[in-house]
């Protein structure tokens, strides 16, 4: 049966900060445009996870009256700390010695999910149609090779692809312009980058995996407005990463950890590094006696402009971290994502009205403040490939002394899936057992995410070669999927006699972080979108 189709002026994939900004800006510029947003989460915000210390610059431009209109942006940053952690000690780094990009006194501690819900209400009031629970699963092309729109996933198929009772065919959404705003490592964005060679001449994209937990603590442990970052322990000098600890409203602490996915040791488990980090005495004292009320993880972009692909193609734009607009040294991406979305809207209006080519996006973005700050920040992350110490020294020079104007650009040399060394050549890491108070296991953590996928549906974590995990990846790398997946989706099960290992994919636990799609050494795991409404149900992450 042919699929039904709906015609829109603009179809947006993903109701995150960038996609919602595009939608709002479009309707502000032309209220008559038909704009819709597809969102794979069960509701807007359900798949949003971010620190988040928010810079309001883009929001000031988009909705200047956000304060009067009750945006969920309340807690102003009032104090900042930066700690270097050793195994048993910590050293405070004077904040006046921090590069200005890492100063946050004008910023706010927010929940990005809450902000997105608020933006979605704004968008709906302007007439944008938002469809949560409807993932875009397919890109549609016109005969001339340009993007025609997207199709939503068929719902109600069983694991073998047969129709179940409640089967509902997917449908086509055609747009004059389609905007891809899926966030980091969007599964359609990845296909577009390949098809149109959008990353030609760019460094390979760099990613990190970010964890976040929300804790409720006592008054004594809480200092609303405090922003703290750490570097050092438990990571070694060669592994890029660090923590954030934000004291938000309602006696909550947002605590998290980011680890560069260019790590080399296949024995490393990002989840366990995060859990171990919390047991450091400088951190533990803030959490002790408190209660962990939320957990989540999500991959994020670290590549900067060296890795930023072309963001336009015939019929479509790629925005936010679907392209990769996060500012790594600032540890922020919401404001640049929103700005990229605003520019997308301006570009689309010109395209629809004056038939101007979408390629004007490039020059518009290049002349924006978002591009300028990304340019200034470009050398920080690559310098850390020389190790933490040299990276910090270089960043000091580059960001404090020269303020990002050094006349060269360091390149990223490897994609993250190429950096693992063979398991036999790297030290095993013995992680302490979780105590169930400060540190936890994966099972109790995924439980907090509210993750569920309808049973008996096609597996959305696909293997290009089903025999590879056991025949190659297990032998060479001790199958790192067992460890890089933050919720234990991938397991190697063995018989009692330790023989005949079997690779198991518990896809119903997947929290859509995309780490497997990025880090698998042979790029053998393909993340495709599962049935709508599946995945985590984050509250105020």
């Amino acid at each position: 049966m042919p699929r039904e189709a709906m015609e829109y002026d603009v179809v947006i994939v993903g109701a995150g900060p960038s996609g919602l900004s595009t939608a709002i800006k479009l309707k502000q510029l032309d209220p008559n445009l038909n704009v819709c947003i597809l969102e794979k989460g069960a509701e807007v915000g359900a798949h949003i996870l971010s620190g988040n210390v928010f810079e309001t610059k883009a929001l000031d431009e988009l909705l200047p009256k956000w304060k009067e209109e009750g945006a969920p942006i309340k807690t102003k940053v009032s104090k900042e700390k930066f700690l270097f952690l050793g195994k048993n000690e910590s050293m405070s780094w004077p904040t006046w010695l921090l590069p200005s990009v890492q100063k946050n006194h004008k910023n706010y501690i927010i929940s990005l999910a809450s902000l997105c819900r608020w933006l979605a209400e704004k968008a709906e009031k302007l007439g944008v149609e938002i469809f949560p629970g409807f993932p875009a699963s397919e890109i549609l092309y016109k005969d001339d090779g340009s993007v025609k729109g997207v199709a939503t996933l068929d719902m109600g198929l069983d694991k073998d692809g047969n129709k179940k009772d409640g089967y509902e065919q997917g449908m086509e959404l055609h747009g004059k312009v389609t905007v891809f705003a899926e966030g980091c490592r969007g599964h359609l964005g990845k296909r577009l980058i390949n098809k149109y060679n959008l990353d030609e001449g760019k460094s390979p994209q760099q990613y990190g995996i970010g964890f976040k937990e929300i804790w409720e603590v006592s008054d004594k442990q809480h200092q609303e407005g405090l922003v703290m970052h750490t570097a050092g322990w438990p990571l070694d000098n060669k592994t890029y990463g660090g923590s954030f600890v934000y004291h938000a409203e309602k006696k909550q602490i947002y605590i998290g950890y980011v680890i560069g996915l260019d790590y080399q040791n296949p024995h490393l488990s990002p989840f366990d590094e995060f859990q171990r980090f919390k047991t450091h005495k400088a951190i533990k004292k803030m959490l002790e006696g408190g209660k962990r009320i939320a957990f989540g993880a999500r991959a994020l972009i670290e590549g900067g402009i060296q890795s930023l692909p072309k963001m336009h193609m015939p019929g479509a734009l790629l925005i936010g971290c679907d392209a990769g607009t996060l500012n790594m040294p600032k540890i922020k991406g919401s404001h640049t994502a929103m700005k990229s979305g605003i520019i997308a809207a301006e570009t689309i209006i010109e395209n629809i009205k004056n038939k101007t080519d979408l390629s004007i996006y490039e020059s518009k973005f290049r002349s924006s403040w978002a591009y300028k700050e990304l340019h200034k920040a470009r050398n920080v992350k690559p310098s850390f490939s020389w190790g933490l110490i040299v990276g910090i020294l270089f960043t000091g020079l580059d960001q404090i002394l020269f303020r990002g104007i050094l006349p060269f650009t360091l390149k990223h040399k490897h994609a993250d899936h190429e950096t693992l060394k063979p398991a036999s050549k790297m030290p095993k890491i013995e992680y302490p057992k979780p105590d169930g108070k400060i540190s936890f296991d994966k099972t109790s953590s995924v439980y907090l995410t509210g993750t569920n996928h309808t049973e008996n549906q096609p597996v959305h974590l696909q293997l290009k070669d089903a025999s590879l995990p056991i025949n190659y990846t297990l032998k060479k790398y001790d199958e790192p999927a067992q460890r890089y997946c933050p919720v234990g989706v991938y397991e190697v099960l063995r018989d009692k006699d330790e023989k005949s290992p079997k690779f198991v994919i518990n896809s119903q636990n997947c929290i859509h972080c995309k780490t497997c799609d990025i880090k698998e050494p042979s790029q053998n795991i393909i993340w495709v979108v599962p049935e709508g409404g599946g995945g985590p149900k984050y509250g105020n992450m």
Binding site: E4, M6, A42, E43, G45, A46, S111, A113, S114, R117, E129, F131, F134, T152, M155, G156, K164, D165, G166, E168, Q169, M171, L173, E216, I293, Y447, L448, G450, T451, N452, G532, K537, G539, N540
Partner: protein, 249 residues
């Protein structure tokens, strides 16, 4: 034949419930809400009866705050014809709900009322039964199969002993079990069409019913944490522990 389906907005079944520190209830801020799962089955069954030509009109009704409308909207998106939202910002006990529904039944004069067997938030499992009593109608509860015959409805009930088949006269109340059917997904065009279908809004105070709560809630607290088990070496040790520590034998 006209069918009225009652739907309730509850915290989504996947969400981990958090009890408020002061013991007054559970957190609902920024929490994903959904239609009570067996209510979805009730809606599905009514829509199926309409599709097979046995029912002419299906009406969905909900009681609650402004956002409770979402559950009616969802029912409209899968084939319900129109909706009623009885607005109130306060908690209504099952008896109050039954009284409100009675008023709606008197107004709409349906032949059948469907609803979920119980709501997953308070697990009361009372509303259907109370409504049947107030109206003096027949009731078929925990239905896992419903068959309409002339002026009677055959209901297969999920009971402790197995399955019980009963025949009841119309008009009747049927409360639905999760095994009744598999609710369909709403399609995008139907969600859009649903936005244009009418939802009548009625205020509780205009119905002239007394919905004062009769139950005083003292405290809401989390169930005690489960303690880890231990391994015993011998049967004798097990018996001794059961006798002296657990004091169950």
């Amino acid at each position: 034949m006209k069918i009225l389906v009652a739907v309730k907005r509850v915290i989504d079944y996947n969400v981990q419930i958090r009890v408020k520190e002061d013991g007054t209830g559970v957190h609902t801020d920024n929490v994903k809400m959904s239609t009570n799962p067996p209510d979805d089955n009730a809606v599905e069954e009514a829509v199926k009866l309409k599709e097979s030509g046995k029912a002419k009109e299906v009406i969905a009704v909900t009681i609650g705050e402004e956002k409770a409308q979402e559950t009616v909207r969802k029912a409209l998106a899968v084939g319900v014809d129109r909706g009623i939202h009885v607005k109130t910002d306060s908690y209504v006990e099952p008896l109050g709900v039954a009284k409100i529904l009675k008023k709606i039944v008197e107004k709409e004069k349906p032949d059948l009322v469907f609803m979920g067997k119980q709501a997953i938030d308070d697990d009361c499992n009372q509303t259907g039964q109370m409504l049947a009593a107030l109206l003096g109608w027949s009731q078929g509860t925990f239905a896992s199969k419903i068959q309409l015959k002339d002026k009677i409805v055959q209901v297969i009930r999920e009971v402790d002993e197995g399955l019980e088949t009963i025949e009841i006269n119309l008009p009747a109340i049927v409360t639905c079990d999760l095994r009744l059917n598999e609710p369909r997904y709403a399609s995008l065009p139907n969600i859009m069409k649903a936005k244009k279908k009418p939802i009548e809004q009625i205020f509780v105070k205009d119905l002239g019913v007394n919905v004062t709560n009769r139950i005083q809630q003292l405290k809401v607290e989390e169930p005690p944490k489960r303690k880890g088990g231990i391994k015993v070496k011998t049967v004798a040790e097990l018996v001794s522990k059961l006798k002296n520590e657990a004091k169950v034998i």
